[in-house]
């Protein structure tokens, strides 16, 4: 990996501009007075078909090369977005899990951050935070562009949403303290429903811990449309990519990351929580004697001052 750092402030030179003004390069004596900050970094990760670098423990080839531009920055924001639709187009049924969903990502009423009343009665704005955003482009052995992704080294905060469609590797941590209708309180299960698919509105897992109690393992399904909010707690390897073919992007941080499929693809697996779930028996969705599903929901969070006027 080659690493370059741009000295943003210190070494920007304007050599010439063929207009009516003659602009002179900044002299060394002036430059020496400047303190540059390496706030931008460019990483080049070449194709490595024989794992000659030995950096992949599984010995796999890397058949794509990558150029990543990272901006060193801490970003805090508090925002609301009415509607987000990304990748809206017809796709063959074979490429998607739920053909009725018309886009790779559809989120309504998104809020980044929350506004709450503190114990002392004051109103508090709790911001969403990300660190070191980057853009990375991928090229194949024929030097053709095959992908681009926007990612963050780390992200934390609460997201309010109505999730209609998601595509990607999504693993949410779900705390199963109580199941409405079942006397199972006190088990304090933590489960990780997972999805690796394009255009879905649910992620699920089997509650293996209940096998010995019930004699079968009910399926815990997070119907994403029922989730009013989720939280990120120092989440790493968070990115949204757009690919023309499957790509294994190099990992930027700790935490799981899968192979990105074609189209738009989200990796959201590390420290991604679905808090305050109310989990209950699904109605009419049971898969027979041993396949009773559980569904879960949580409340939408507030990110507006309007309730406090």
């Amino acid at each position: 990996m080659k690493r370059f750092a741009i000295l943003c402030a210190g070494t920007a030179l304007i050599r010439a501009f063929s207009a009516s003004a003659d602009l002179q390069p900044i002299g060394d004596d002036v430059l020496s007075d400047m303190t540059g900050q390496s706030a931008i970094r460019i990483d080049e990760i070449p194709i490595d078909l024989n794992n000659t670098t030995g950096i992949r423990a599984d010995g796999s080839d890397r058949d794509q090369g990558f150029t990543r531009i990272t901006i060193g920055a801490d970003i805090e924001l508090n925002a609301n977005i009415d509607r987000t639709v990304i990748g809206k187009r017809p796709r063959p049924d074979s490429e998607v899990e739920i053909p009725e969903l018309e886009a790779d990502v559809i989120l309504n009423n998104v809020s980044l951050g929350t506004i709450t009343r503190a114990d002392d009665g004051s109103i508090q704005m709790n911001n969403f935070k990300v660190r070191d955003p980057y853009i990375e482009i991928a090229r194949n052995a024929d030097n053709q562009l095959t992908g681009v992704r926007l990612g963050f080294k780390e992200a934390s905060g609460t997201i309010g949403h109505e999730i209609v469609s998601l595509s990607g590797d999504i693993t949410a941590k779900a705390y199963v303290d109580e199941i409405v209708g079942l006397n199972l309180s006190g088990l304090n299960l933590i489960e990780y429903p997972y999805n690796h698919n394009t255009r879905t509105n649910r992620i699920s897992t089997e509650l293996q811990a209940l096998q010995s109690i019930l004699g079968w393992s009910p399926t815990l399904t997070l119907h994403l449309g029922e989730l009013g909010h989720t939280t990120l707690n120092g989440t790493q390897n968070l990115y949204l990519g757009f690919q023309s073919e499957e790509i294994n992007y190099p990992k930027v941080g700790a935490g799981p990351q899968g192979t990105a499929h074609s189209g738009f693809w989200l990796n959201l697996q590390d420290n991604y929580d679905a808090p305050n779930l109310e989990i209950s028996l699904a109605t009419g969705t049971g898969g027979g004697l041993f396949g009773i599903d559980l569904v879960s929901r949580n409340e939408r969070v507030n990110n507006s001052f309007s309730p406090y006027f």
Binding site: A12, S20, I75, I81, R83, G87, I123, M125
Partner: protein, 309 residues
């Protein structure tokens, strides 16, 4: 000249004339008539207005160089700003015309005040730079461009000797309805608010390993973004300014002031929200489908750069 001055003062402090743009260009700048001056609406403020007629700017000797601490340069070379109907980037080009006497660019100095929900009054003298609204397009002669193409070449040379030359071309660009407001906030320095309104028929990014005289036509090396339409507010009048500062460690800080209980109602009722629409992105022949993001409302933003090394 006396007639011109009379017309100006007849409008009571409204000053309107053409601004001669200093870039090497082909432009026919036409003085505004007395009749036109009378049709410009002042609001008791001092204003300057101008139009751009048959304008274009070309440079194949333009160079903006960014230095790397490893001595690896990235530079922007070649620059073309021409009418959208031009058949070439640097030859056989046409100019473009934006604005007319009834719908010009304006630079206005005005007094403003804002009273928040607690009856606290903020006052400032602001300088407002506004683009035409687009009404002028109806009056343009057939064949006259109201949009422009902006093209530049970015070249990077890595340590390895590998070169990456990326042509970036915004084609069919309109910035109508954009405006920026500047004022001095006590203790905060220069404050800015405004609206970015950007529409492009096509954005092409063409990345190749060898420099070319023109953007290439190989789909494998290109991203093509069709019909990008961005409307994005930067802050809201006097109570939500955008400020730019540098801290003691030379980190850049960009902060959009948070709304609060005393300003939120005005913000929700009157502040514009942002939208982003893209019809399609084509990458190496693969199509993304549409992107539709609506109702973006920034309640707070803070970006602070940091050293990545």
């Amino acid at each position: 000249m006396n007639k011109f001055i009379s017309a100006v003062f007849a409008k009571n402090t409204l000053l309107s004339f053409l601004l001669l743009l200093p870039v090497m260009a082909h432009a026919d700048l036409i003085p505004m008539s007395d009749e036109a001056l009378f049709q410009v609406n002042g609001q008791g403020a001092s204003a300057l207005s101008y139009t751009v007629e048959d304008y274009s700017a070309l440079s194949e000797d333009f160079k903006l160089e960014l230095g790397f601490d490893s001595g690896v340069p990235t530079d922007f070379a070649k620059f073309s700003l021409v009418g959208a109907s031009s058949s070439d980037y640097f030859e056989n080009t046409n100019g473009f015309t934006i604005g007319n006497a009834n719908d010009p660019f304006t630079l206005t100095l005005q007094h403003e005040s804002f009273t928040d929900a607690n009856d606290v009054v903020s006052e400032a003298v602001s300088l407002v730079y506004a683009f035409p609204t687009g009404a002028y397009v109806d009056d343009l002669a057939p064949g006259v461009d109201s949009k422009f193409n902006l093209t530049t070449l970015m070249s990077m040379t890595h340590e390895s000797g590998n070169e990456l030359h990326t042509w970036m071309s915004l084609q069919g660009v309109s910035l109508d309805n954009s405006y920026y407001k500047f004022w001095v906030d006590p203790g905060k320095g220069l404050s800015v608010s405004g609206l970015i309104s950007l529409k492009t028929d096509t954005f092409v990014a063409d990345a190749q390993n060898t420099a070319t005289a023109q953007p290439g036509t190989d789909a494998g090396s290109q991203w093509v973004v069709d019909n990008l339409d961005l409307s994005f507010p930067l802050g809201a009048t006097l109570y939500q300014p955008l400020n730019i500062d540098v801290d003691d460690e030379h980190n850049l800080i960009i902060e959009l002031k948070a709304i609060n209980l005393s300003t939120a109602e005005h913000f929700y009722d009157t502040a514009p929200t942002g939208n982003l629409y893209v019809d399609n992105i084509t990458m190496n022949g693969y199509e993304s489908g549409a992107i539709e993001i609506e109702g973006i409302q920034l309640q707070y933003l803070r970006v602070q750069t940091r050293d990545l090394l």
